[in-house]
Symmetry: C2
DNA sequence: TTTATTCTGTCTATAGTTTAGCAGATATAT
DNA sequence: ATATATCTGCTAAACTATAGACAGAATAAA
């Protein structure tokens, strides 16, 4: 596909998409880059730049048509068929994520979860079935995205199993920096790092 | 303070710090930028560059002394006195974070939490006392950092109250893009966006 | 209609970030 | 002692991202 869109832009697309959805539900039919800028807190020039990577989506003197833009992003972000996601590690954080309504944006769906606890196996949380970790390879064959919320000590081992089972993307909530092949995409959400770096920025980058 | 360190570097400091702590516990006394690179998955040139913003911390032909570096970062990241943090919104995610051991890195401490539920008030989760949200202004006066895990609908209202109470940094887990004054630092962790952008990158930035 | 206003799309300038490459200092091996 | 290997700190270059400015197209108002 088109490899030309900057990564920084790609990271903002889901954000734009969500706010367009909000506008649509509010019944708004048109929006300017300036209005959108106020809502998503991204410079309006940056927004126009981002949109223009996909062609001329707006109209001079008018702005953008909400429904048209929404439809366009729906296709671009492949909204029509939801991507199945598996979650590994049903601890405190895993449980919270199972209850988190990811499918509000209709392009991802938590399809199954795994845990090493025998007690949790064969139960449901947030409507998602939980299986024992021994069944990982057996159940996960059609899933390409995994959320990793296991203890850091077993993160690498589980990641290896995920990769071997054909997983192509991992959202890693553990502090471990995993070694994985190039063809697998990994994004880190490291809660301690986020909190520490917020504190660092507060102290060192004052008004 | 020294405003000269690039933000990208500042964001990596907590990561370096954690891995140095690990090495220390493993009894390693020296480490090269290459070894560290393998562990944290950051280019070794970038690591040397990052460290050099703080002066010449290493030795040519030898590498870095783990203890020395650790001590240095401990001071730089102000490890000696922990920063108090308040958490607002004790739902699924809030509860998970209260149980998450942030204080492993000794520079932040979850000191209190707030929720609108009367039932939760005056209880403890993960050793952290929970108060009713009505007591926010009364209790929070000495806290400068807040974690926001409330529903998106009330996020702005709570953020306004936090800012009015003197909070200087917010870690925002809600999908809302908050309007806050310039002197308040805000970092977003938007779980839906993270998952969606992972999926987008998987599809559009192949091997 | 005509005029004034709005607002995009793009160009250009600036800022920020990463990476390669290498001189020279230090360590280690012989 | 000498030679070889290691590994930093730095420079320069490439790359990436943000933001200001404005021509011109379209709308809205007069």
């Amino acid at each position: 596909m088109e490899n030309k869109i900057p990564q920084a832009t790609a990271r903002r697309l889901p954000l734009y998409y969500r706010f367009l959805t909000n506008l649509h539900h509010q019944g708004k039919t048109r929006v300017s880059s300036k209005e959108l800028s106020d809502a998503v807190k991204v410079d309006s020039a940056t927004i126009r730049r981002d949109f223009s990577y996909f062609g001329a989506l707006g109209k001079k003197g008018y702005g953008y048509n909400v429904d048209y833009l929404l439809q366009f992003f729906k296709e671009t972000l492949s909204e029509h068929k939801a991507v199945d996601v598996a979650l590994i590690g049903v601890g405190n954080l895993g449980t919270a994520l199972l209850n988190y309504n990811f499918s509000r944006n209709h392009n991802t769906k938590l399809a199954m979860a795994f845990d090493h606890s025998e007690k949790k196996a064969e139960t449901f949380i947030g409507g998602v079935p939980i299986y024992h970790i021994d069944q990982l390879e057996e159940k996960i064959s059609n899933v390409e995205v995994a959320i990793l919320t296991v203890p850091a000590t077993v993160a690498q081992e589980i990641a290896d199993r995920l990769v071997a089972s054909g997983v192509k993307g991992i959202l890693n909530f553990t502090p471990a920096r995993l070694t994985i092949p190039d063809h697998v995409r990994i994004h880190h959400i490291d809660l301690s790092v986020e909190l520490q770096s917020l504190v660092y920025f507060m102290k060192h980058y004052p008004v």
